[in-house]
């Protein structure tokens, strides 16, 4: 029973991970490592590998596009950009998040 409780935090994180990625990309275009460091800073992911399938999924849903950009060191990097659909999706998710957050706040202050 104890373990099940503990498992909720990653579950919660997972639920909003895609929202977070879209948020990061709404500020500026970024490549995978930049997204990772942002997410890590805000303690949203534990292992980096998690990001890649999510990026692929978002890309398949046409929320993201990417372009190749030369870098000073090493091979060209994949820079991800929000698409028009992605921005719409982000607003949707934002509303949903606000609602959730309000609901939780309300419950807290009961």
């Amino acid at each position: 029973m104890e373990k099940k409780k503990l498992n909720i935090v990653p579950q919660m994180r997972k639920g909003i991970l895609e929202y977070c990625i879209l948020l990061i990309l709404s500020k500026r275009d970024a490549y995978a490592s930049e997204i990772i460091s942002e997410l890590k800073e805000s303690k949203m992911i534990v292992v980096e590998g998690t990001l890649y399938p999510l990026l692929t999924r978002l890309k398949n849903g046409d929320y993201l596009t990417y372009r190749w950009e030369e870098s000073l060191q090493g091979p060209p990097r994949k820079y991800y950009t929000l698409s028009e659909a992605g921005r719409e999706f982000l607003t949707e998710l934002g509303t949903a998040w606000d609602e959730l957050s309000n609901a939780v706040e309300k419950l807290k202050n009961l």
Binding site: A32, S33, I36, V47, E48, G49, T50, G74, K78
Partner: protein, 515 residues
């Protein structure tokens, strides 16, 4: 001291020690297997490899030039083990996983391959045991249906080889779960020697190597056929050798009475020589065949030319011995060109009254065995612990023109000298008697000198008037009866009746008498 190898990850060259390399390559295999077989996997793996190279670059700046096990483990820790990644994205992946579960794909199974792994792949795909399918295909190929070879080659070219762990699991329909991959990967841990590049994109250059592959496959098919043919030859030659030796032992009568008769006929020395020569002539080609089969099956060094030359020499010796003896025996016979014969005639007293002449056997007390040498019937008996030679009397039925029953018994002997022939005839002891309407005949006549090989005959000609019946009793089984031209043994062992017609032919009445 540790061995290092050079690898290339997304455009960067690294020196990596072997243990670290193994861990890294296994890790990437697992990741790839976990993400499953779709277009995105390579993208994801490429991205991850890029990330790995970034992490390596960050950490190699401190002066380290070789990637160590520790460094690889550190990087894996950062990116996450497949299970951890799986855990964090479980919800969506589980849907994927379920569809993948039932999804079996046909691959060539190079791990259990004999040629190219087509059959083992098929077996894995249909979840059947490999061996019966292989046997079936081999049998089909051998027994006239050669097309499996062509089909096999086409399959070997068209069906992709299971390279990644995911593919290997897929072809068995095992769940592509983290645990299964873990297990499978551990099994294969030692076998992973392929270069890092093999797991990178652009590896599907198989089709450029079709000819190379075809060549390889054909070579392997030839190899398999070499073994099959070798096995068949060995089997056939061994079976033949065993059967020839056993039948040889039985018929040559080395361990039976026939040996004594044979040695009397040829002379002991010649007879043994004949047996040995026959054995040589029959067995040498088979032994050579067996030798060839062994050479096909097992690679070993041998003085082939010496063995073959010796074998051929022995064979020629055997053949010449056989022909010499055959010529000598024939020559001996040819000298027996003088003949002498005596005929005796007895007539039935009450000729008109006999409607049916019964022919019966005078019983013999001695048991007589027979042996055929060069188509000469030789009979012998073991009375008085001595071998005695016998001949079999021949019986002939003719139409009597004088309208009475008449029996003519002719003794005939052939020898070099007419005098000996006459003595032979006189010494031929044959019993026969006519009592009322019954003719009693002996089966054999005794030949005094068992080493005298000249032909000896006793012919009993029975003249029967038209419409008179003859009845052979059941005792006449195996009597030698001359029909128009040839003689043969009479096989019936029950009583039979014939009627003489006007043309001298015997009409079979046995069916009439039954009704």
């Amino acid at each position: 001291m540790k061995e290092t190898i050079n690898i290339n990850i997304s455009g960067f060259n690294y020196s990596i020690d072997r243990d670290a390399y193994k861990i890294l390559s296994t890790y990437l295999d697992k990741l790839e297997a976990y993400y499953g077989d779709n277009e995105e996997t390579q993208d994801i793996i490429n991205d991850i490899e890029q990330r790995i190279s970034e992490l390596f670059n960050d950490r190699l700046q401190g002066g380290n030039s070789v990637i160590t096990e520790q460094l690889v483990n550190e990087v894996i820790e950062i990116i996450g083990k497949p299970e951890e990644i799986f855990e964090e994205t479980e919800e969506d992946e589980s849907i994927n996983k379920k569809t993948r579960k039932k999804y079996r794909k046909l691959y060539r199974d190079s791990d259990n391959a004999i040629i190219a792994g087509v059959i083992s792949g098929l077996a894995a795909y249909f979840n059947l045991p490999v061996l019966p399918i292989r046997l079936l295909i081999v049998l089909l190929t051998i027994f006239g249906v050669g097309s499996p070879i062509l089909i096999y080659i086409v399959c070997a070219i068209i069906i992709p080889k299971a390279v990644t762990t995911a593919e290997k699991l897929e072809q068995r329909g095992e769940n592509v779960t983290a645990r299964n991959i873990e297990r499978k990967v551990k099994e294969e841990y030692k076998n992973i020697k392929e270069n890092f590049k093999n797991h990178s994109p652009g590896m599907s250059t198989n089709y450029n190597h079709i000819w190379e592959r075809l060549h390889k496959i054909l070579l392997k098919i030839l190899k398999v056929f070499q073994y099959i043919i070798g096995g068949l030859l060995l089997f056939v030659s061994l079976v033949s050798i065993v059967s020839i030796v056993t039948t040889g032992i039985v018929t040559s009568g080395i361990f039976s009475n026939a040996f004594t008769v044979g040695s009397e006929y040829f002379g002991t020395f010649s007879y043994i020589l004949v047996i040995l020569a026959l054995a040589f002539v029959c067995l040498i080609p088979l032994l050579l065949l067996a030798f060839l089969a062994m050479k096909l099956l097992f690679t070993f060094k041998s003085k082939n030319s010496a063995i073959v030359v010796t074998a051929i020499a022995c064979w020629i010796v055997g053949i010449s011995i056989l022909s010499t003896i055959a010529i000598r025996t024939n020559f001996k016979e040819d000298k027996n060109n003088m003949s002498y014969s005596i005929s005796k005639t007895i007539e039935a007293k009450t000729d008109n009254k006999i409607k049916t002449l019964t022919i019966d056997r005078i019983p013999t007390k001695t048991s007589i065995n027979s042996i055929d040498i060069f188509d000469k019937h030789i009979y012998y008996s073991k009375t008085n612990k001595k071998f005695e030679r016998y001949g079999k009397a021949r019986i002939k039925f003719k139409l009597s023109k004088e309208n009475k029953i008449k029996i003519v018994v002719t003794k005939e002997a052939w020898h070099e000298s007419e005098i000996t022939a006459k003595e032979d005839v006189e010494s031929m002891n044959y019993k026969y008697e006519l009592q009322d309407s019954t003719l009693n005949l002996g089966k054999y006549f005794k030949i005094k000198d068992s080493k005298n090989l000249g032909n000896k005959y006793i012919t009993v000609v029975v003249y029967i008037p038209e419409n008179t019946r003859i009845k052979l009793t059941e005792n006449m089984h195996r009597a030698r009866i001359i029909s128009t031209s040839n003689f043969e043994d009479y096989w019936s062992n029950s009583e039979r009746v014939w009627k003489m017609d006007a043309n001298g032919e015997l009409d079979d009445e046995n069916y009439d008498s039954e009704f």
